[in-house]
Symmetry: C2
Subunit: 305 residues, 2 copies
């Protein structure tokens, strides 16, 4: 482990809840958001500005930000609230909502790209770069992603060069906050290390993020590989909830409190209040009437040092 | 990953089934054993010679070996069938059953030792060493273990020195086939690396084995740390079934087919037929009417290279 400055970016309220058919009411989402902030999770993905007909679970994202901006949520001085957009319309809503950091991306899989955006990877990349530039011009922080970066549920192997060519385009356009998302859960540690190394060879100034699903039980191994490769942001979700509903074998995200617990056991400073996170996941499991994929919220933390 | 000669030792038929209240009939156990052999799992823990009143799930271990010895199971030339014993009576049964390798151990936790054996750690260690010597004198291969080696559900922290002093006694008595069992699931990668390094410093000829539970979601990380520390045998179970019924927070073992799948993704030779293992775990989940903790038997393997 060569890096203790890793930042967890919790995506449970977005990638987590969009995968669950039950729609969580807005008050509950705000309560969970407050718990994440109070537990000192610095980066929190609040929702996505997408078509409410396609993802009714995210229909209240504008309302949530309105209530945040009206002071209903107590942020810490270093809290960053993020949200995902897919297109120009989403961008307008995100800008109106005063999101701290706007997230957007493309898939490296032509099939996944067509299913999600009705565009080729090239077309989608050009469009997202334009949107990213507009967000910046409006004064917003951004992060761009490459989805299906380590394999695709539909296509199988995704050539590393395909991912690198998207990254290269981002970098050439001055965008170096880049997340690789393992949408299908196909990543393995060697692939993670190789990919991030090649990106840093391309441009050592890229600020790297990663997003792993634990589809095949390798989630934590991939997190460790990413940290060892110099990745700054780990996208994970409380309770491990989540999974893109538009991939072939959906499965949970790596679990925020399990990572925090692992950090604590390895004496890696992280500043997060584990017990509050555990309470949140217990609360969510009760509300959703589901057993969530995470481990530590069920067992409790190891209580000796 | 510095070692590709790791051998998986499947403990599902013993540590797995003893944790499940439903008693699996003998024919089914023999069928599952055959599937493990046919999948080229080389080391397979078949059962334990314990008091059937305490663990009725293991009551047919003598019968299983009798049927194995009668030729009902087709072994490969390198198949090693193992079984656990707790005391002299178990030893006699194991010897009569012509077990290929006899397993026995002590707990490093005084509380766990008293609960399991009504003896202190010292007393239990002396007794197990005598039993191990007798097994060897009868011509049997053996492996001794230290349970609760990385923490105890009752006591919490177990001093490394306590574990090392047991290991030292084993080695001083000429026994260098040693497994560390993380009974409570408390291990983390740094602790694993540190412990195995100190054992190899004590005696570089020790043939190391490990046994991890995935109680807190760190199972695969610990397996990786053990492999990187030079451990030869990984004890895991098909479907991830298992968990000592006499510890405080029981949870599944690391899962054999998930490890094989991980090895395959990392191109680590292992000779095991993953699809047959997946079929076994599906079969077991159906029979037991349980969702097992493993991942890959539910999702299927990633099917590209």
């Amino acid at each position: 482990m060569n890096n203790t400055k890793v930042i967890l970016h919790d995506v449970g309220l977005r990638d987590g809840l969009q995968s669950i058919s039950k729609i969580v009411d807005t008050d509950t989402k705000l309560k969970w958001l407050q718990k994440l902030i109070d537990a000192n999770v610095r980066y929190i993905q609040v929702g996505s500005f997408v078509n409410p007909k396609v993802l009714p679970q995210m229909a209240d994202t504008d309302e949530i930000f309105m209530r945040i901006n009206n002071g209903e949520v107590r942020k810490n001085s270093d809290t960053i609230l993020t949200a995902l957009i897919l297109n120009e319309k989403g961008m307008e809503r995100a800008i109106n909502s005063k999101v701290d950091k706007i997230l957007m991306g493309v898939s490296a899989s032509e099939t996944h790209s067509l299913k999600n955006t009705k565009m080729s990877v090239d077309e989608a990349t050009n469009r997202i770069i334009e949107i990213a530039k507009q967000c910046r011009a409006e004064g917003f922080e951004i992060q761009v992603s490459v989805q299906s970066a380590f394999g695709c549920g539909f296509e199988g192997k995704i050539e590393t060069q395909k991912v690198l060519s998207i990254v290269e385009k981002y970098v050439q356009n001055g965008i170096n906050n880049i997340s690789l998302a393992d949408t299908a859960g196909h990543a393995n540690p060697l692939a993670v290390e190789s990919m991030f190394k090649r990106i840093l060879n391309l441009d050592s100034d890229v600020e790297l993020a990663c997003h792993f699903h634990n589809t095949y039980g390798m989630g934590m191994l991939n997190v460790l590989a990413a940290i060892n490769s110099g990745v700054k942001f780990i996208e994970s979700s409380f309770g491990g909830i989540g999974g893109c509903p538009f991939t072939k074998v959906p499965a949970g995200n790596v679990c925020t409190e399990d990572i925090v617990h692992y950090f604590n056991r390895e004496v890696i400073p992280n500043g997060i209040n584990l017990n509050q996170l555990i309470e949140l996941s217990k609360d969510a499991a009760n509300y959703l009437e589901l057993e969530l994929p995470g481990y530590v919220y069920k067992t409790g933390a190891i209580n000796w040092n």
